[in-house]
Subunit: 322 residues, 2 copies
DNA sequence: ATGAAAGCGCTAACAC
DNA sequence: GTGTTAGCGCTTTCAT
């Protein structure tokens, strides 16, 4: 920048002011500085800028995965709001490992971000400590079943499970099964299952069958799991899946085997993915406002409201599979 | 850090060396410094570190969208390699706007990243200038049809279109239609279409019909487009879609309307998405090595090979829809 | 409206 | 093996 100042024949601080369009400067100097910067191909150094001033335009975002469209949707919502406000996202992916999350938090914090967004409420004790002591706004997303550190934006997964169970029960299904993916790592899916079981119990029911794969969720896993489950428990009349990816797999299995949906078997998912909504029979599922959660989280991150919980609820989609 | 040094009773540089486990230090001092850092809850400041030394651990990655799983897959591949090497990704999303890309490049460059990865070869003149002059490794991903700036990792979209056309022709289809999405913005989809048309022409054929939506690709758009196209051109016997999202939509339309696939109508997609491969009839498509392209790009970004083009080819999936 | 000078928190010589 | 001393490229008082 001193080169620019010299080329423009002004002092460094003047150049700095002009380049940041801050403070006052005469139209002439402004032109000289801007011209010099363009001529020299000057690219500012935000490292130095941020170090000298305070607060960066970096926002750390930590998600467990990018393989499931849910998290890209979240990033998309957040990115749109942050980008428009001149902020950039630094992404970290934990792979559903709490320890990995802890390392990411440390690493991102060392960049002195203006704020941090993280999926979920479950963290290691040290992660919570680091986040609470960071002195920046922390937003936890996608879950409201538990204690937040600062700002929380999401919905109750437990309630989502409950609502799904009540829906199936109201439709008259009684021999209800569950098909899920690695619940040890995906705590939110585990909470949905808990809520689901609780609502079944309230109606005097219990799970007729269950198949939980060890892998992450996928269409293929859902398809295979339903095949396995029906072989062992042919009397099941409805299946609740841990999410739409799994449920779509189940639906494909039914189509392939000629299993009538929902008369012979009802299917219920979670997320309201595009692909599930446009299937020949739209999947019955809960639509989650993923993009909106990302956007709202970003907005609250940049605002300075007091800490609190914002609920953006899911919506029951009465599809054709239940 | 000076606090840590004082607390440990050593000099600043000693503390720095210990904290970065670089250079030599006696076990005792090391322990003193580490203890002091832990006691004080010291969080390093990478801004200062990077400014004082050289090269950050930040890598800029620019993609056009996060709505299509293709790009999260790319980020996933890159993120895994970068994360393991201690690098962090700063993500920018252009929304398929060249001007937005230019701003992002400028903005990311101001963070002095160690390297930059960007999807595609088409950029504004100024973007190319900025990238070429940045003095860091630039990797362009997903396309090899054109001039790269530095390192290029991908495949030929033109060739992908060609291969798809030849496949349909070899199978005996002659009244072939195309269904696509906004080609003005998605240049790679446009190149596939070009290659497709070229191969048709080589066989003395031309497009029997075409429907190009103005929106981005989606299952719903594909479904509606096929509906529209068949209403106008009922004699079509095969459709090439701009990607799998669109093709799955088309497939769903056929299932819903009882259109026999592939006897009455053949369908061909692009990408080899999970959901397409597990459909009752696996979609005929080209599987693209998206995660591998991301990973390879990251690897080459960190290596210092000479500039060049690395081809990771697509693979023809002979599904049940053609 | 503009310039000079003092750091921001760290790393990198360089001495010891 | 360890401490001292300059900066890295900016922003920010504080004068002028």
């Amino acid at each position: 920048m001193s080169d620019v100042a010299r080329e423009a024949g002004v002092g460094e601080s003047t150049a700095s002011r002009v380049l940041r369009r801050q403070g006052s400067s005469s139209p002439e100097t402004r032109e000289k500085v801007l011209g010099a910067a363009a001529r020299l191909g000057y690219v500012p150094n935000r490292l130095a800028g941020t170090l000298a001033s305070t607060g960066s335009n970096l926002i750390g975002i930590i998600v467990p995965s990018l393989a499931n469209i849910v998290f890209p949707d979240l990033l998309r919502g957040a990115g749109a709001v942050l980008g428009a406000a001149g902020f950039r996202s630094v992404i970290g992916v934990t792979d559903y490992e709490p320890d990995s999350e802890e390392h990411l938090v440390e690493s991102l914090l060392s960049w002195r971000p203006a704020g941090l967004m993280v999926a979920g409420l479950e963290h290691t004790a040290r992660t919570r400590l680091l986040l609470a002591a960071a002195g920046i706004r922390i937003v936890e997303m996608l879950d409201t079943d538990g204690e937040g550190i600062d700002t929380v934006v999401g919905f109750s997964n437990r309630e989502a499970g409950r609502v799904s169970a009540r829906h199936l029960i109201a439709r008259g299904y009684r021999r209800i099964a569950y098909i899920g993916h690695d619940l040890g790592r995906d705590r939110r899916a585990a909470k949905r299952r808990e809520g689901f079981l609780a609502a079944l119990a309230e109606a005097g029911l219990s799970l007729a069958a269950e198949d939980v794969v060890r892998t992450h969720s996928s269409v293929g896993a859902g398809r295979e799991a339903l095949d396995r489950l029906l072989a062992r428990h042919p009397a099941v009349d409805a299946v609740y899946f841990s999410n739409d990816d799994m449920a779509i797999g189940g639906y494909f299995h039914c189509l392939a085997r000629g299993i009538a949906v929902p008369t012979r078997l009802a299917l219920f998912g979670f997320n309201g993915l595009d692909v599930a909504r446009h299937a020949p029979q739209p999947l019955s599922t809960l639509l989650t406002p993923r993009v909106a959660i990302g956007a709202t989280s970003a907005r609250l991150l940049l605002a300075d409201d007091p800490p609190g919980v914002t609920t953006l609820d899911f919506e029951l989609i009465e599809g054709a599979t239940s």
